[in-house]
């Protein structure tokens, strides 16, 4: 029942309310989304000349427990000191306007030995102060092996933090998989978008992330310069092809991952358990190396250890088997 002055009054009122809300929404998004992560160009970044790589005597090592390298202003690569744990795991802290994503939490639980939370908190506090905004920390994992979540507990009581969880079901639910591993999902950190897909083979809950801003393709433990331990050859084969298809559809600047186990000599790895790796090759990998892995999927037909220039494939054999002398 219309009792206002004209039949148009409610329509005008409705338009005014909607326009005001849209204007408010726009103003809010401009004020809180100060950073633009333009996916149309590859954001620049740099890797260090060399990573801190342990020492001849682990006991005399006085390097930081966690090496922090700023690839660029919003992309941090962390490495666990190899003198603390031979895994020398790489971890990633990636910032968007609303969230920061921590991928993996290293191989050492003790905060006294490996103060990952302290280091991450400091990076986040500095980033928030510099950019005038606050972020929720997402604690995620590339896959569910203990050397990737040993320090997970350090984040359990952290405020403004979401723990993805360490079961297959929690991982799939968080990322939104309804068809793992084939599905490609978009994940938004707040203006900075990632493509997430499943990459089982090394471990059955593994994921890969492609950063549309830096064009870095994060491949976890299923593809790195080292011993690629494969529990499920068929799954890994499809995962490698999935990564190749992703790289066909999106520009990839570098492939990044979690460990360095190869030396600079083609096909030669450091002995298992090395806490000192002088003259390490870079951690990042190239698309040519991914093509080498694609080639391997055509060549390998049975379990065994297969040597390639930049990685070794330990196909469905006990992990204790080694090429070490």
């Amino acid at each position: 029942m219309l009792r206002w002055h004209s039949k148009l009054t409610p329509l005008i009122g409705t338009a005014i309310v909607a326009t005001s809300l849209l204007a408010f929404d726009k103003a809010l998004s401009v004020s809180t989304r100060a950073l633009i992560f333009d996916a149309s160009e590859t954001a620049a970044g740099r890797f260090p000349e060399s990573w801190i790589h342990g020492s001849e005597s682990a006991m005399d090592n006085d390097d930081p427990a966690v090496q922090v390298h700023a690839y660029n202003a919003h992309t941090f690569i962390l490495r666990e000191n190899k003198a603390i744990n031979y895994e020398g795991a790489f971890m990633y802290l990636l910032f968007g306007n609303e969230r920061a994503l921590l991928i993996d939490q290293g191989s050492t639980s003790s905060p006294a030995l490996f103060p990952l939370r302290e280091v991450v908190d400091e990076i986040i506090a500095d980033w928030e102060a510099e950019h005038g905004q606050s972020v929720t920390l997402i604690v995620a994992n590339s896959h569910l092996h203990g050397d990737h979540y040993a320090a997970w507990n350090q984040f359990v009581d952290r405020p403004e933090t979401i723990l993805v969880g360490l079961t297959h079901e929690e991982v799939l639910a968080y990322w939104g998989f309804s068809n793992y591993p084939e599905q490609r999902l978009t994940y938004d950190l707040g203006g900075r978008e990632f493509i997430v897909t499943g990459t089982p083979g090394h471990q059955s809950s593994e994921i890969a992330l492609y950063d549309t801003w830096t064009d870095l393709l994060y491949t976890g433990d299923m593809f790195y310069r080292g011993r690629l331990y494969l529990d499920d050859w068929e799954a890994w084969k499809l995962s490698i092809l999935r990564l190749r298809a992703l790289a066909d559809d999106f520009p990839v600047a570098h492939l990044v991952n979690n460990h360095i186990e190869m030396t600079r000599i083609a096909g030669v790895d450091y002995p298992i358990g090395s806490t000192w790796q002088p003259n390490e090759p870079p951690m990042e990998m190239t698309l040519q190396m991914l093509d080498e892995a694609v080639q391997a999927t055509n060549e390998i037909t049975k379990p065994g250890i297969y040597t390639y220039d930049h990685f070794l494939i330990y196909n469905e054999i006990p992990w204790a088997y080694t090429t070490d002398p």
């Binding site: 029942m1 206002w4 409705t14 909607a18 639980s109 030995l113 997970w152 359990v156 992990w319």
Partner: protein, 378 residues
């Protein structure tokens, strides 16, 4: 100087610890706890005994016995484990009854090598006296196992398992929700879950109206602000409820599927329509009831999309769905009750339409239009 010395000691300790856990920590310990809807529970412990509590030789010897469980070293290891392992549900400690012990042992060299994990699987059964979502699993400091120890909890009524890590430093896996960080509704949910695990779905359904379902809330308020008495309101709400219950069930059962990018803008548009219709109608037309029914079908699909994000449990699927729907209805009724308490007293006053109902309805229509533009265009 003292600090330097401490650094060396720490590294020596670390190296001695890590040397037993090489190779991407394959032999880490796992504890899986399951509690079903009939309060029956099981705990499965996977542990590399030959690399922790007993020698590889003793382990190999036990594994080759007909009754491994009776081997003195295994009995010693089990006693040590059972003394250190504690589970509480709510406030009550749980009595674990050992069900089975199974030793994996490929060869003595495999048992000796930490890179070839040879895991022992020990299963316990238990009965929960007072169901509660607050579950605690702890290992006391007398026990050292291959760390970290991943604890998984599958609780009846919870759509997803939960995980925690026990480490040498943190001996407790606490699944109790931190009440300090929960809002009042989540605290209520947590409390209900303790009283009756399935009742959590009523609370989740309720939350999807109040406070999370702002669009559904505005639609119901749109119905509330139509001129007319309680009979008018009751008729509209009944049509809406029946319709959205139907599509909620059909969508959740995957018998129908409409993409959310179509449903969500239409839900927004339904709010605009209902609100504008309030402003131009003098009474409840029959066709309005038909339109509300159609809109109810849309809103049901919206609820179903939210529900699919949460995921209903496989066990008790239909019950959970029905309880979720009851929660939605309760949320709806609460919105109407609150609206009545705030402004409904004056429904019969001459100034009510011009001063309350019409401005509120314009605000509802404007908000619906804003959502429509946002959902359709971005």
């Amino acid at each position: 100087m003292l600090l330097r010395y401490a650094h060396i000691v720490v590294l020596i300790i670390t190296l001695s610890v890590t040397s037993g856990a090489m190779g991407h920590m394959l032999n880490m310990t796992h504890i899986d706890v399951k509690i079903d809807s009939s309060a029956q529970g099981s705990l499965t412990l996977n542990i590399d005994l030959g690399q922790s509590l007993i020698s590889p030789e003793a382990y190999w010897d036990a594994a080759n016995q007909l009754n491994s469980e009776a081997h003195p070293q295994i009995r010693y290891a089990l006693a040590k484990l059972e003394q250190a392992l504690q589970v509480t549900v709510g406030e009550s400690p749980i009595f674990l009854e050992r069900h089975s012990v199974s030793l994996q042992a490929d060869s003595l060299s495999a048992v000796t090598n930490p890179l070839i994990p040879q895991m022992t699987t020990i299963r316990y059964d238990f009965q929960v006296q007072k169901p509660s979502p607050n579950v605690r699993v702890s290992l006391n400091p007398t026990l050292t196992v291959p760390w970290p120890c991943l604890v998984r909890l599958d609780l009846a009524g919870q759509p997803l398992p939960m995980s925690r890590v026990i480490t040498d430093e943190t001996r407790v896996a606490d699944f109790a929700p931190d009440q300090g960080t929960l809002g009042p509704v989540d605290q209520l949910v947590s409390k209900w879950a303790g009283l009756a695990p399935q009742a959590i779905w009523v609370a989740i359904g309720f939350q999807h109206i109040l406070p999370l379902g702002l669009d559904h809330m505005l639609f119901v308020l749109g119905l509330f602000f139509l001129a007319g008495g309680w009979r008018v309101l009751l008729l509209q709400v009944t049509c809406f409820t029946i319709a959205h219950s139907v599509t909620l069930a059909l969508s959740t059962l995957k018998w129908i599927a409409v993409p959310t990018n179509i449903v969500e803008p239409l839900i927004a548009l339904s709010i605009v329509y209902i609100a504008l219709d309030n402003l131009y109608s003098t009474h409840l037309a029959r066709w309005r009831l038909a339109v509300i029914t159609v809109f109810g079908l849309l809103h049901g699909m919206g609820f179903a999309a939210v529900l699919s994000d949460i995921g209903l449990p496989k066990e008790g699927f239909i019950n959970a769905l029905a309880l979720f729907n009851i929660g939605v209805e309760l949320g709806q009724l609460t919105v109407l009750l609150l609206a009545f308490m705030l402004v409904g007293w004056w429904r019969k006053q001459g100034w009510y339409q011009a001063s309350i109902a019409q401005p509120a309805t314009v605000a509802i229509a404007g908000t619906g239009l804003y959502w429509f533009i946002k959902r359709a265009a971005f």
